[in-house]
Symmetry: C2
Subunit: 449 residues, 2 copies
C-alpha cells in the first residue's frame, strides 16, 4: 500500500491517569476489596500502572503536596514523594509515561532539573514534570514562611525556575558524551555549557552534572487556569491538566491557550481535561455505585471540604439548602480559584442543594464526573475529542485499581474500535506517545558561540 505524504496525520487521543492512592472518591479506601494501606504501598501503585499500561494509556500521573492539606482522619492523602515512587513504577513497566508534580516555590531549580533528568534516564525517556506553585498555607509553613507568597510572585518565580530547569537540561549538547576508550576522551567539554543564570529569584552558574535527558526535556505539564497560569503554560507547557465543567468552557480554554502559545511561536499545548469516571454495566448500576461511594464519605468531611473550596466557614453550609448567594473568590493562598468557580457554576446550573452538589461531585472539589456505562463514557470522550474541547483526558477513576480496570476493559476497546485511540504503543518515549517533538538544543549553542 502506498502512503500519501500529503495525508494529514490524524489527531490522536491522549489518556493520562491520575493514580491518586485508593481512587478519586474519598471513601474508595472503605470498599470491601480495598486495602486501606494502598496509599503507602508501592505494589498497589505498580499494579495500577501496569493496568494503565495494559490499556496503552499515555502516562500515569502523581500529584503532590508538601504538607497535610486534607482531613486525614477521614481519607488517604497524597503521601509518597512522586519522583521516588515513579522510579519504582518505571522499573516495573516498559512503555507508559511517568509524570510527577514538583513545586517551584519550595525547591531549587538545580535539584529539580537533576531529579527529573534522572527519572528520564532511569525510565528511558518516559518522564514528565507537572510544574506547580503551591498555594496552601500549611505547605508555606513547612518552609519557613508565615504566609503564602502572592499569586503573581509565585508565578514569576515559577517562570524563572522553569527557564533555568530547561537551560540546565540543554547545558549538555546531545553529542557531548563521547566515551572514546582508545583515545581516553570521556566527554567533549566544549559541548558542556555553564548556564550562568542571574535572575530575580535565582543565580545558577554551572552546567547540569549529567548528560542531556533521553527526551531532551522531560515533558513539561502545567495546570494553571488563571491568567498567570495560562501565560506560564503558553510559554513552557507541552500539556495541561484542566478542570473545565463543560464542553464549551473547555473548548474556549483550549483555543485561548493555543492562541497564547502561538504568540511565543510555540506549537499547540495538549489539553488533558480532568475526568472522574464512575462506571457500571448499566447507567442504573453506575448511579448506584456512585451513591454507595458517596454515602460512605462522612458528611462532616464533605462539608468541611466544600467550605474549604469556597473559602467560607462550614457553619454557613446547610445540607438541604442551596449555596449562600454572597460567595466571593477567596483571597490568595486560601483555596483554588478554578475549583471555586467550577463548584459554584455547577451548583447554580443544576439548582442543587448542598447535599445534591456533594453527591454530583462524587465527593470531589470540582472536576467533571461522568457516571455511566462504558459506551456512555466513550461517547462523551469522543464528543469532546472530535469537537475540539480536549486533546485527551486526565482520568481520575473513582476507585483504584478497580475503576481503572473497568475503564481499560470497557471504554478503551470502544475508543480503539472508533480509531481514535492506539491499539499498541507506536513509540518508546512519553514525547512520542504525546506526539511532541524532541526539543533541539544545538541551535542554542551555535547561536551563543
Amino acid at each position: 500500500m502506498s502512503r500519501n505524504p500529503a495525508q494529514r496525520v490524524p489527531r490522536r487521543l491522549h489518556l493520562n491517569v491520575n493514580i491518586l492512592h485508593s481512587g478519586f472518591v474519598p471513601s474508595a479506601w472503605r470498599r470491601d476489596d480495598a486495602d486501606p494501606r494502598a496509599f503507602i504501598d508501592v505494589s498497589h501503585y505498580v499494579r495500577v500502572a501496569q493496568t494503565a499500561e495494559a490499556g496503552k494509556l499515555d502516562a500515569v500521573f502523581l500529584a503532590d503536596n508538601a504538607a497535610i492539606v486534607d482531613q486525614i482522619d477521614f481519607r488517604p492523602i497524597t503521601a509518597l514523594e512522586p519522583t521516588v515512587l515513579l522510579a519504582s513504577i518505571a522499573a516495573a513497566t516498559t512503555h507508559i509515561g511517568v509524570i510527577g508534580t514538583a513545586s517551584t516555590s519550595y525547591n531549587e531549580p538545580y535539584n529539580i532539573a537533576r531529579r527529573f533528568a534522572t527519572l528520564d534516564h532511569v525510565s528511558n525517556g518516559r518522564a514528565g514534570w507537572n510544574v506547580v506553585t503551591t498555594a496552601d498555607l500549611p505547605s508555606a509553613r513547612n518552609f519557613g514562611r508565615g504566609t503564602v507568597p502572592d499569586h503573581a510572585q509565585r508565578y514569576e518565580r515559577a517562570a524563572e525556575f522553569t527557564e533555568i530547569v530547561k537551560a540546565l537540561w540543554d547545558s549538555w549538547e546531545d553529542d557531548a558524551f563521547v566515551g572514546d576508550k582508545a583515545g581516553g576522551r570521556f566527554v567533549d567539554v566544549d559541548k558542556v555549557h555553564p548556564i550562568a543564570h542571574r535572575g530575580r529569584h535565582f543565580e545558577v552558574h554551572g552546567a547540569l552534572n549529567l548528560p542531556r535527558p533521553p527526551q531532551g526535556h522531560p515533558v513539561l505539564v502545567q495546570a494553571g487556569a488563571s491568567a498567570d497560569g495560562r501565560e506560564l503554560a503558553a510559554r513552557h507547557a507541552e500539556a495541561v491538566f484542566s478542570a473545565s465543567q463543560s464542553f464549551e468552557e473547555s473548548a474556549a480554554y483550549r483555543r485561548d491557550l493555543n492562541e497564547r502559545a502561538a504568540v511565543y511561536g510555540r506549537p499547540g499545548v495538549k489539553v488533558l481535561a480532568g475526568l472522574t469516571t464512575i462506571i457500571g454495566a448499566t447507567e442504573t448500576d453506575a448511579l448506584r455505585r456512585r451513591d454507595e461511594l458517596v454515602d460512605q464519605i462522612p458528611w462532616r468531611y464533605s462539608l468541611n471540604r466544600l467550605a474549604g473550596t469556597l473559602g467560607i466557614d462550614v457553619d454557613r453550609l446547610k445540607l438541604d439548602e442551596r449555596l449562600p448567594d454572597d460567595l466571593a473568590l477567596p483571597g490568595s493562598g486560601n483555596g483554588n480559584h478554578t475549583f471555586f468557580q467550577a463548584t459554584i457554576a455547577h451548583a447554580r446550573r443544576h439548582g442543587q442543594t448542598v447535599r445534591e452538589l456533594i453527591r454530583s461531585l462524587a465527593g470531589g472539589t470540582g472536576h467533571r464526573v461522568i457516571v455511566g456505562t462504558p459506551e456512555q463514557i466513550a461517547d462523551d470522550i469522543t464528543h469532546w475529542f472530535n469537537g475540539g474541547a480536549a486533546d485527551g483526558f486526565n482520568l481520575m477513576p473513582d476507585v483504584l485499581p478497580g475503576g481503572l480496570s473497568d475503564f481499560v476493559d470497557g471504554v478503551v476497546p470502544i475508543l480503539q474500535k472508533r480509531g481514535i485511540f492506539r491499539t499498541a504503543y507506536e513509540g518508546a518515549t512519553l514525547r512520542e506517545h504525546l506526539g511532541l517533538a524532541r526539543p533541539d538544543n544545538a541551535q542554542l549553542w551555535r547561536e551563543s558561540a
Copy 2:
C-alpha cells in the same frame, strides 16, 4: 540444641559497596568489557546491586554532588540523583539496603524527610541517608552563593537540619494509621504531631504528610572526620564511612567516635572503613591489573586531581620528585582535609615520588587500596574487624561490576567460612542487617503530652 541466653551475640561484619558508576579507578570505563555509558545506565546499577545482594552485602551506596566537580573530559562523574536511582534499584532487589547522599546545605529538611521516608516505604525498610554538608565551590554557585559557607556554619546547619528530619519522621506515632473501614476512621489525628520547629536556620511547622517510615528512621550515615563532623556523627549517625589509611588510625577514630556517642547516651556508631580492592588470582596478577588500570589514566588527569586534593597549583607537582615540603591544609571550601592529610601521610610514609604516589592510590584521592588475592584481602578485613579497627567496610571496587563479582565470588566465601560474615540475610531491613535497633517515638510523644 538449647540456647544460652547469657551468650553474647557475636559481632557481625558489615559490608557496604559504593557503586560509583564504572568503578573506583578513573580509567575503569576504558576496559575492554566496560560500557562507557554505564554511569547513566540504570541496568548497569541494577546488575551491580544484584551482584552485591548475591554476596549478602548489607547495602549499596550512592555518593552525590550538586555540580560537575571532577574532570569529565577524562572520566565518568557522579551523575544520576541517588534517591531516584535507588528506588529503581530497590524495585529490582529484595534485601540489600540502599543508602544515598543528600546535602543539608542545598536542600530543605521537609523535602529530604519525605524523599528518604518514601524510599524507605518503597523499599520496605531498606533506606539510608548519608548526610553531607557539601564543601565545593561549583555546588555553592549552583545555589546562588558566591562562596562556600564556612565549615562551622555548614555543620551547624547540618545538625539542625538532621534534628528536623528526625522529628518529622517521628511526627506520626507508629500506630497513628488506623484504616478502620467500618468506622470510617483513616488516621488517628491525635497521634500525628506538628513539630513546630523554630531554629536558627529553619522554621518547620507541620507533621510529615506520610506515616512513619518502616524503619522508624531510615539509617543515618555520615562521613565527617573533622571535630565538627565527629560531633555530628556522635549525635546522629548510626554508621560512618571513614577514610583511615592505617589500622591504628582507624582504631583510634573508632574509639573516639564511640566515646563521643556515649556522651550523648547513644550506642556505638558502626565504622565502615573505605577500602578499594584490586583483586587477582595471584598477587602478581593483582599488581599487574592495578598497573594496567593506572596506566590508562592520563597523567594530566591524575596530576590535576592530586593538585586539587592538596590545594596547590598543578605546576608544583613533578612526576619523578617527591611532594613539596611546604604543604599546608587548604582553606575551607577548597579541598577535603581528610584526603589531604591521608595523601600526604601516605606519600611520606612510603617516601614516594608523585608518580609512585598516584600509582599506589590507584588514581584515587586518599582511600586505602589493597591489591592482592582474595585470601590476602580476606586476611586484611579479618584483621581490621577482629582487632577493632572497623565494624565493616565501605568497599570501592576498582571496576564495576567485575571487581565486585571477584569480591563476592572470592572474598565473601572466605569471610563466611571464618564465621564473621552472614551466609544468608537474617533480617529484612537495613537496620536489621546492621544490627541497629528501630528507634521508638512513643516515649517522645508521651513526654510532650
